[in-house]
C-alpha cells in the first residue's frame, strides 16, 4: 500500500439542481490528521458520506486505503472507522453489546474480538459504563462509544464528522485529547466548524466553501499566508492630539499604515501599526512613544488568526 491513504479525484455531487460538492480533489497521507473546515452546508458531510460509500458521487471517484469506492466499497468500508454526525447509536443497546456488534460486523470474533474490546474500552475510558445502556449516557460518553466502535477493527483511516459538536468544553477537550492520541498512528479526517479545534488537533486544514475546496495547508502556513502581524499600542496622550500621535508613528520606517481609535477614558489612545513586511516593530513603537512624550501603557502583537482567514475564504464570491 502506498502512503496515500485517501485520494479524492474531482468529486462532484448534485442533489437535484443543488450542487453540494464541486470538483473536490485532495490527498491525505498515512498518519496525517486533517481538519475539514467550512460553514454548515459547505459540503463537508457530503464528502465524508462519499468516502464511506454511503452515497455515490455524481462525478469523480475516490480511493481509500488503495480500494476504489465504486469497485470495492466493502474493502473501503473495512479500511475506515466512521463516526457520523451526531453519533447515531442504537440507544436501547448496552455499551458492551453495541461494541461487540460493531466488532462482529467488522469481521472480528472470539479471542480477537475480546482482546480488541478490552483495548478500545481502555483507550476510550469506557470501563465504568460498559454495562449501561447507550441511551442513559451523557453526550460525552456517547461520543466515546462512537469513537470506540470506529476504532474496534483498528482501521488505518478514521473519518469523524463533527466529533466535538454539542459537547461542553470539558468533554470537548477530553475528546480532542483522545483524537490526538489516536491520531499518532492513524490517518484521520475530521470535520468541524470550530477553528480552535483545528488549530489544536490537526496538522493540515482543508477549507471548503460552497462545495469547493478553497484552501489546503497547515494551520500555521494558512495564518502566515493571509496575515501580516499587527501591533496594537495603547498610549496616554499627555495632551497631544490623535492626529499628531498618528503622525509620529507614521514616521517609523517600516510602518505601512497607522490607525487610531479612542481607548479607555479621554486621555488614552489605541494605535494600530501595520508593518510593510513582517517586521517586528515593537522596539520602534516603544522608542517613538518615548520620543513623542507619550506613555506606553500596553503593546501587543497580533497575527491574523485562522478565524479571519476562514471568514475571508468562505464569504463573498465563493472563494478562489
Amino acid at each position: 500500500m502506498s502512503d496515500v491513504m485517501i485520494e479524492a479525484r474531482d468529486l462532484t455531487k448534485h442533489y437535484g439542481s443543488v450542487t453540494a460538492l464541486k470538483n473536490a480533489t485532495f490527498e491525505v497521507n498515512r498518519g496525517e490528521v486533517v481538519g475539514f473546515l467550512g460553514p454548515n452546508g459547505a459540503g463537508k458531510t457530503t464528502t465524508m458520506k462519499i468516502l464511506t460509500c454511503f452515497i455515490a458521487p455524481s462525478e469523480g471517484t475516490a480511493r481509500v486505503g488503495g480500494a476504489d469506492i465504486f469497485e470495492d466499497p466493502i474493502a473501503v468500508r473495512q479500511a475506515i472507522g466512521y463516526l457520523p454526525e451526531s453519533t447515531p447509536l442504537y440507544t436501547e443497546m448496552l455499551v458492551l453489546e453495541y461494541l461487540e456488534f460493531a466488532g462482529k460486523m467488522r469481521g472480528l470474533n472470539g479471542d480477537g474480538l475480546r482482546a480488541r474490546l478490552r483495548k478500545v474500552v481502555e483507550e476510550t475510558s469506557l470501563g465504568d459504563v460498559i454495562g449501561k445502556s447507550i441511551g442513559e449516557l451523557s453526550k460525552g460518553f456517547r461520543q466515546r462509544v462512537g469513537l470506540a466502535q470506529a476504532l474496534i477493527h483498528e482501521p488505518p483511516v478514521l473519518i469523524l464528522d463533527e466529533p466535538m459538536s454539542g459537547l461542553d468544553p470539558n468533554q470537548a477537550s477530553e475528546i480532542r485529547e483522545l483524537i490526538r492520541e489516536i491520531g499518532r498512528e492513524r490517518t484521520i479526517i475530521l470535520s468541524t466548524h470550530n477553528l480552535a479545534e483545528v488549530q489544536v488537533t490537526c496538522g493540515r486544514v482543508l477549507i471548503i466553501s460552497q462545495g469547493q475546496l478553497v484552501a489546503d495547508d497547515t494551520p500555521e502556513e494558512l495564518a502566515a499566508r493571509a496575515g501580516k502581524p499587527r501591533f496594537i499600542a495603547t498610549v496616554r496622550r499627555n495632551g497631544h492630539s490623535p492626529a499628531d500621535i498618528r503622525e509620529a508613528f507614521s514616521k517609523i520606517g517600516d510602518a505601512q499604515s497607522v490607525k487610531d481609535r479612542d481607548g479607555n477614558g479621554p486621555n488614552e489612545l489605541i494605535v494600530e501599526v501595520v508593518p510593510k513586511g513582517t517586521q517586528d516593530l515593537r522596539a520602534d513603537i516603544f522608542q517613538t512613544a518615548v520620543a513623542a512624550d507619550l506613555v506606553l501603557l500596553g503593546l501587543e502583537q497580533r497575527g491574523e488568526n485562522l478565524e479571519d482567514i476562514f471568514r475571508l475564504l468562505t464569504t463573498g464570491t465563493g472563494g478562489a
Binding site: 442533489y15 458520506k49 464511506t52 460509500c53 454511503f54 452515497i55 455515490a56 466493502i74 474493502a75 468500508r77 473495512q78 475506515i80 466512521y82 457520523p84 454526525e85 451526531s86 447515531p88 447509536l89 442504537y90 440507544t91 436501547e92 443497546m93 453489546e97 456488534f101 460493531a102 462482529k104 460486523m105 467488522r106 469481521g107 445502556s133 466502535q149
Partner: protein, 236 residues
C-alpha cells in the same frame, strides 16, 4: 452469511428491549384466545382449523406493527448510516433485518402451539392439517413481513410504514372476499392473488407447491423492492 446473522441477531434482541414485541405478542394471544374459545365448544369438534382461520387474519393486522420500524426508525435516527458504512452490502442488511423479524415471528408462532396441544387432549386431533396450517402461517407470514419491510424502506416515518404495510396486507387478504360480485375471469385472477385463498388451502392440510411458490415469490419481490429502495439512496 455471518453478517446477516449478526444483523438479524441484533434486531431480534432489540425487539425485547422495547415494548413493541411484547405488545404485539400480547394482543395476538388475547384476540386469538377470545375468538378461538368463543366458538370452540359450539362446534364440539377436536380441530384446530378455527385457530388457523383466526390467526391468518389477526397476523395480517399484527405483523405490520413488527416491521414498521425495521428501516424507517434507523433512517429517522441516522443509525442506518453507521450500519451501511460497516463492511456489508445492502442485500445483507435487508436479509438480516428480515431474519431478525422472522425470528420474532417464529417465537410468536411457537407461543400458539399450546392451542393444538390442548385440543389434542380433548379429542382425537388430526395433526396433518395442523402442520399444514403452520407451514401456511410461516409462508404467509414471510410474505407479510417482507411487505412490511418494503414499506419500512420507503419512508423514515414508522407510522407511514405501518399504514402502507397495513393497506397492502389487508388488500391482499381481502381480495377473494368479494368474488361473487365479479365476472368469472377476473374473479379467478383475484382469487389467485389473494393471500387467504392460498393460506386456507394449506390450513386444510393440502400442501400444494403452487401455494408455496406464490408466497415465496411475493416474499422475494418485496425484499428485492426493499433492497432497491435502500440502495437508491446512494444515487439520489
Amino acid at each position: 452469511m455471518k453478517h446477516i446473522l449478526t444483523i438479524g441477531g441484533r434486531q431480534f434482541r432489540s425487539y425485547f428491549n422495547g415494548p413493541v414485541a411484547y405488545i404485539v405478542i400480547c394482543i395476538v394471544m388475547l384476540t386469538l384466545g377470545f375468538f378461538f374459545w368463543k366458538t370452540f365448544f359450539l362446534f364440539g369438534r377436536a380441530s384446530a382449523r378455527e385457530m388457523f382461520r383466526w390467526l391468518g387474519l389477526i397476523l395480517v393486522f399484527a405483523l405490520p406493527a413488527l416491521t414498521m420500524g425495521l428501516l424507517a426508525e434507523e433512517k429517522r435516527t441516522g443509525t442506518i448510516e453507521l450500519l451501511i458504512t460497516m463492511p456489508v452490502t445492502e442485500a445483507q442488511v435487508i436479509l438480516g433485518k428480515f431474519l431478525g423479524v422472522f425470528g420474532l415471528y417464529a417465537v410468536l408462532l411457537a407461543l400458539t402451539l399450546p392451542y393444538p396441544m390442548s385440543v389434542a387432549t380433548l379429542g382425537d386431533l388430526d395433526w396433518g392439517p395442523v402442520w399444514g396450517g403452520y407451514l401456511g402461517l410461516v409462508l404467509q407470514g414471510s410474505a407479510l413481513l417482507a411487505i412490511g419491510l418494503m414499506a419500512s424502506s420507503w419512508t423514515n416515518n414508522q407510522l407511514i410504514a405501518l399504514f402502507v404495510a397495513l393497506t397492502l396486507s389487508v388488500f391482499f387478504w381481502v381480495l377473494d372476499k368479494f368474488l361473487a360480485l365479479l365476472p368469472t375471469n377476473a374473479a379467478s385472477a383475484l382469487e389467485w392473488l389473494s393471500f387467504d385463498y392460498h393460506f386456507q388451502s394449506m390450513a386444510r392440510g393440502v400442501v400444494d407447491l403452487r401455494d408455496v411458490l406464490f408466497f415465496l415469490s411475493v416474499t422475494i419481490v418485496a425484499l428485492a423492492a426493499a433492497f432497491r429502495a435502500l440502495e437508491s439512496r446512494r444515487w439520489s
